[in-house]
């Protein structure tokens, strides 16, 4: 259990009357530090240490995480990484044609896909002028910031 805001407020009330400026509480499952912040009031830092014991339900499937995309690219080629981690999509919406295909000419500003992070969409730009050589991350796959989404062969 954590302490409720009412519990913490009771601690603060007791402290306020005491003239103390800081209190550190260590309980079995949590630690709490309450501090006087000058005239502005009080703050609390609480840490719940209890480790949840997860019960059955859906079995954890080992195959859920796909192999990370190969990170190495051929010499002279350029790897396109996501601007932030998220789910990579090659088209603006399901059923729509992909932004680009292998063999397409792109320049630095060309949108080559989108990344969905926390329900928000961020466009992925090629970042370089050249030709799309291959995709390393499939449509709908999760990509970390260092993942290779696709490889572009720069124009000479």
């Amino acid at each position: 259990m954590d302490l409720t805001p009412d519990d913490v407020r009771d601690v603060v009330r007791a402290l306020d009357a005491s003239g103390l400026d800081e209190l550190h509480l260590e309980l079995a499952d949590l630690t709490l530090t309450v501090r006087r912040e000058g005239a502005a009031g009080w703050t609390a830092e609480q840490q719940v240490h209890r480790r949840p014991e997860v019960e059955r339900g859906e079995p954890v499937t080992a195959a859920a995480t796909p192999e990370p995309a190969r990170a190495d690219v051929p010499e002279g080629s350029v790897a396109v990484h996501p601007p932030l981690l998220g789910t990579f999509y090659r088209a603006p919406q399901p059923g729509a044609p992909p932004y680009v295909e292998v063999g397409d000419e792109v320049d630095a500003e060309t949108v080559v896909g989108i990344v969905e992070t926390m329900k928000m969409m961020t466009p992925v730009h090629a970042g370089v002028r050249g030709t799309v050589a291959e995709f390393r991350t499939a449509n709908g796959e999760f990509a970390d910031t260092d993942a290779v989404l696709l490889v572009v062969e720069p124009a000479s």
Binding site: T4, G41, V48, E55, R56, G86, P94, M118
Partner: protein, 454 residues
């Protein structure tokens, strides 16, 4: 039926908040968590945790079968869906009923009636509520017919859902075909339902909503909230009561919300969203949300109610224990949504690891939060980390206390919108109150101009 063991089928701050009411009421809470949330703060505060499925929401929080399996696996007698995810899903409500579980929410028929925005509109009309002039746009010809009747500018909206997706502003007849196409595509992608409808665009509108609670026979209105501070249709800052409304308008809004709830024989907690036209001084029905809202704490702060407890009571089949005369708003409350977003980079999401959380405490302060130091903010879900709720004797007092509280609040490790709120609370237009939904964009433009001058 008495609820003794509740499956909380949600995550983040709302899961932690529902768990808290369970603890107070002596109900055993079981959190249904995805793989990304098995060690999150709500998993540590709930009595028990059951695995719901993989991280991506489609395979966990959005899968009605997985939710019901989790509930049955732990022997829960009820399911609380929180907000978002499956909270307004007739499929989950039906699956719960089939499995003998109480769904903490309205009936399947009500969810279907208000989930379809066109059906909701016609129910509102039947209940005597004013609706924004508009109508269905089955195709371009149909859309042109509606446009001829109500005039431009227009808003194209998705029949199947809200939240700003599938919504497009159309200023002229020339923009109609393109706007319609984009809205249809977005609506289809977001809600699996490409149907759209048109509404007259109110240029200076405020988003005011009324909290209602019903037991299936009678209903009660529990006050209003103002949620006009929005960025791209996403609420950032809310308050209760809605400021600068005449007593007559406020009473008419409450009556309208009550009329709709009564007409629907509504059972559960719900919110009737209204658009208040600042130029005309009138209001129209927008939509009804058949679930607990993110911003419910501002209503709790001024009424002293625990809305989750009331929601659980009507879900148990108990008659309303609140009546219109019992509920009075005391003082004023504001809420700042603290999101893991980087305002300097167009509010780009900022997932990562939380390093430290320092929260203000004291009378009139409440922080609903789903993270602590060491928590990982996963990329799969929305960016809401915490809600700072501040209750004051009046609006000026609430705003002053909120400024101090924001100065003390520290969430380190990821970029948050706390600093945006701190700056917002110094804005004269916001301080004056009663801003429209276009306010936040104007405020951002003003800030950009200031930054360029200095």
């Amino acid at each position: 039926m008495r609820i003794r063991r509740l499956l909380v089928a949600n995550r983040g701050e709302i899961a932690a908040r529902v768990v808290r009411t369970c603890a107070r009421l002596g109900i055993e809470s079981v959190l249904a968590a995805s793989d990304a949330d098995l060690d999150a703060l709500p998993a540590r505060t709930a009595d028990r945790v059951v695995r719901l499925g993989p991280g991506p929401a489609a395979q966990s929080y959005l899968d009605p079968a997985a939710v019901v399996r989790a509930a049955l696996a732990v022997g829960a007698d009820a399911v609380h869906p929180g907000y978002g995810f499956l909270s307004e899903s007739p499929a989950l409500a039906r699956a719960c009923a089939d499995a003998g579980l109480v769904f903490v929410g309205p009936s399947v028929a009500t969810l279907e009636a208000v989930g379809d925005k066109l059906t909701a509109r016609s129910h509102a009309l039947d209940a005597g509520l004013p609706v924004v002039p508009g109508g269905e746009a089955a195709d371009l010809a149909g859309a042109r017919a509606v446009a001829d009747r109500v005039g431009y500018p227009l808003l194209v909206k998705a029949v199947g859902g809200g939240g700003g997706r599938g919504m497009k502003l159309v200023r002229t007849a020339a923009e109609l075909p393109g706007g319609l196409d984009v809205a249809v595509a977005e609506a289809g992608a977001a809600f699996g339902d490409p149907r759209v409808y048109l509404e007259r665009y109110v240029t200076s509108g405020r988003h005011v909503e009324v909290q209602v609670l019903g037991d299936g026979t009678s209903a009660v209105a529990l006050g209003d909230r103002d949620c006009s501070v929005q960025r791209r249709y996403q609420k950032l800052f809310e308050e209760a009561p809605a400021p600068l409304l005449g007593d007559d308008v406020r009473a008419a809004m409450a009556d309208a919300a009550l009329a709709l709830a009564t007409h629907l024989r509504y059972r559960g907690l719900g919110t009737v969203e209204l658009l208040y036209d600042r130029d005309r001084g009138s209001f129209h029905f927008l939509e009804m949300n058949a679930r607990i809202q993110v911003e419910h704490p501002v209503t709790e702060a001024v009424t002293g109610l625990d809305l989750v407890a009331e929601q659980l009571a009507v879900a148990e089949g108990l008659p309303l224990r609140l009546h219109a005369g019992d509920v009075a708003a005391r003082g004023h409350a504001v809420e700042c949504r603290i999101n893991a977003e980087d305002a300097a980079r167009d509010f780009r999401p900022a997932p990562g690891r939380i390093e430290r959380v320092v929260l203000p405490v004291g009378d009139g302060l409440r922080v609903d939060i789903g993270v602590q130091a060491g928590s990982v903010v996963p990329p799969h879900y929305d960016s809401l980390l915490a809600k700072l709720v501040v209750h004051g004797t009046d609006r000026a007092d609430a705003l002053a206390r909120a400024r101090t509280a924001l100065d003390l609040l520290r969430i380190e490790g990821v970029t948050t919108t706390a600093a945006v709120h701190r700056a917002l609370l110094d804005d004269l237009e916001l301080v004056a109150g009663g801003v429209d939904t276009g306010f936040f964009e104007r405020w951002q433009a003003r800030r950009r101009d200031l930054a360029e001058v200095s």
